[in-house]
């Protein structure tokens, strides 16, 4: 630290002619160090960036290259692997019975979670965007689950959704539903139960939507009102198009989050326990975790990770193609 201070704090570098000019970072691609002062600024910059550069090489670049290599080996914990070609990939597609189950669970989850979380967030944001007193308090309450520990939320909701004793089913029975769902004990209801848990965090998306809604110029609504547009026409022709960039941002976020969900099961039944009834909660990342860290087959797990990444890239690419048709950017 002392050395850095000397290098950067020498009084000689005080007046820097290169930086005194009208330089707007990002608009001047061809900056060149001018004289001793310019070179010392450059040296200083690389010192400031040193932690990031070291980190990116050690924690990102090396692991990334290593991940490619690992996926072609039979590496295990405490036993270095040897090259086995595409064997891991072949195993996933042809000999791992859980692979397709995990894919099916994760893709089903994407089809449930993405629309449910996108639409619920928008509806809540529309409520919060009303100009009525007390909206700040509701906003504060609705965002609470977003700051809480996922483990704590999983423990709480597993207790609440317990099929016999849980508070939710008691509530349902008391309002006349004599045979409420068995939630986490029923293969059909396990994923919806995870979705309910997720809906508890509806405030996260709602806050982001709300920021988008509040960015829409009110004059547009006033003008449309004068032209005789009703609330639905305003929503369809003003709110939706102007909100579409926010929606697209959230869509990508929800999609990638849904793809790598590992699920509450890892909390509740332990890493090696059952993945819900009939493996109904065997999310892809849970399978990867088990193969890699419970069974110690790290090479195979690395291959599973690359398969998931390719699936993710395809989905994101498809979404970006949708963007061109449906997302409206203000210029």
């Amino acid at each position: 630290m002392v050395m850095q201070h000397d290098a950067l704090g020498a009084p000689g570098e005080a007046a820097d002619p290169a930086a005194a000019g009208p330089i707007e970072p990002g608009h001047q691609p061809a900056w060149r160090p001018v004289g001793r002062l310019g070179r010392s600024e450059e040296r200083a910059a690389y010192l400031f960036l040193a932690p990031w550069i070291i980190g990116i090489v050690a924690f990102l670049l090396i692991p990334l290259v290593w991940a490619v290599w690992l996926s072609f080996t039979d590496e295990q914990l405490l036993r270095p692997g040897v090259f086995i070609g595409l064997e891991n990939y072949a195993r996933a597609f042809t000999r791992d019975p859980s692979f397709y189950k995990a894919l099916q669970v994760t893709l089903t989850w994407i089809f449930i979670a993405v629309p449910v979380f996108l639409i619920s967030g928008l509806l809540v944001a529309l409520l919060l965007n009303q100009r009525l007193p007390g909206m700040g308090a509701f906003r504060t309450i609705l965002y609470v689950p977003a700051v809480l520990s996922g483990v704590a939320i999983a423990v709480l909701w597993f207790t609440l959704l317990n099929s016999d004793l849980g508070a939710v089913n008691q509530l349902l029975r008391s309002i006349g539903i004599s045979d409420p769902p068995n939630w986490f004990q029923d293969p059909k209801w396990a994923l919806p139960a995870v979705a309910i848990m997720g809906l508890w965090g509806v405030g996260t998306n709602a806050i982001i939507y709300l920021a988008g809604l509040q960015n829409i110029p009110p004059e547009l609504y006033e003008a449309a009102g004068m032209d005789g547009a009703g609330p639905f026409a305003k929503f369809r022709h003003i709110t939706l198009p102007l909100l579409s960039p926010t929606m697209f941002f959230l869509l990508i976020g929800e999609l990638t989050a849904a793809l790598v969900i590992i699920g509450p099961v890892i909390v509740i039944s332990g890493a090696g326990g059952a993945a819900g009834p009939a493996d109904s909660l065997l999310f892809y990342m849970l399978l990867l975790y088990r193969r890699g860290f419970v069974q110690g087959e790290l090479g195979y797990a690395a291959a599973l990770a690359w398969i998931l990444t390719v699936i993710g890239l395809v989905l994101v690419w498809l979404t970006f193609r949708l963007e061109k048709r449906f997302v409206f950017y203000q210029v």
Binding site: A18, A19, E41, I54, L127, L132, G150, V155, A167, A211
Partner: protein
């Protein structure tokens, strides 16, 4: 606010109906958020011999206000949540120091200094946001495992190293946030300091850092929440229960047979309280930080 009040006074029946509908929906939503927490609090405040599952469910504590269960959860010899909370806080503190220092240094270079390769490197910062986490999981684990940053080595929790050291290398989201913020600080301040003979290090430390405090608070709060709530990292790298964090201890406890639900709910409360307190103090800044992400997207 005054505008809102005027609106209410002039409500037409149609608008009053609309307002009633909005409030009804929001109250139902707020109940959906609060009642589970109330149920948990009720269970945590019951003495050990009182059943947690009752009919009808008790959503708010009315009969029992027994802090003994809570104290038990904090101090029970085999699962002392006070100890786990201290572990979690230690990790969070180190991460906050690392995140505030490293991200501000990096962001300062991108916001203020000129150097060759700046645009390429900044594009690289943004690109690292898109790196697939699942792919990095295994090689990162192997890397740390092979250099001995795992579990407990001779009484020292070596598994804490992979949970703290990377924070000192910066985080693309924070770098971006701080760089944007630093660019709003008037450049004349830097230039005046330079005329007075200050170098880059001193400008960073004496001018940019103090003026960036609002954005640094956002970084600190997000870092705290991320580390306090992290489950997967501690799950991978910690093996000795005495060094467990709160979420890891909680997850281990519920998987055991013969769980005491009062204690579990009290422990869940231990896991939730610090984030709630931090949220209470920082919610406006936090919301601003989150909202700005959405607008950019």
């Amino acid at each position: 606010m005054t505008q809102d009040v005027r609106r209410i006074r002039r409500l037409s029946p149609r608008r009053a109906g609309h307002a009633a509908f909005v409030y009804l929906c929001l109250i139902a939503l707020a109940a959906f958020i609060i009642l589970p927490l109330g149920w948990m609090l009720t269970a945590a405040l019951k003495p050990l011999h009182v059943p947690v599952f009752t009919f009808p469910p008790e959503w708010f504590p009315t009969k029992y206000f027994n802090l003994g269960t809570f104290a038990d959860a904090l101090t029970q010899p085999n699962e002392p949540y006070l100890r786990f909370a201290i572990n979690s806080l230690t990790l969070a503190s180190i991460n906050i120091v690392g995140a505030v220092l490293s991200n501000s240094l990096i962001a300062y270079a991108f916001a203020r200094l000129n150097f060759r390769g700046k645009n390429v490197l900044f594009a690289l910062v943004l690109a690292t946001m898109l790196l697939p986490a699942p792919v990095l999981l295994i090689p990162q684990f192997l890397l740390f495992f092979n250099i001995g940053w795992y579990g407990t080595q001779g009484g020292f929790p070596a598994g804490y190293l992979p949970l703290t050291v990377p924070a000192f290398a910066g985080n693309p989201f924070f770098i971006f946030l701080l760089r944007q913020y630093m660019r709003t600080i008037p450049k004349e301040l830097d230039e005046a300091a330079r005329v007075d003979g200050a170098g880059f290090w001193r400008i960073y430390w004496k001018i940019i850092m103090p003026l960036s405090v609002p954005a640094l608070v956002v970084v600190a709060v997000f870092t705290f929440l991320g580390v306090w709530n992290d489950f997967f990292g501690p799950l991978l790298y910690l093996d000795d229960p005495q060094w467990f964090t709160v979420p890891l201890a909680l997850a281990t406890e519920v998987t055991r047979v013969g769980t005491k639900w009062n204690i579990v709910m009290a422990a869940t409360l231990v896991a939730m309280l610090p984030p709630l307190v931090v949220y209470g103090f920082s919610q406006n800044k936090l919301m601003g930080g989150i909202a700005s992400v959405g607008i950019r997207g």
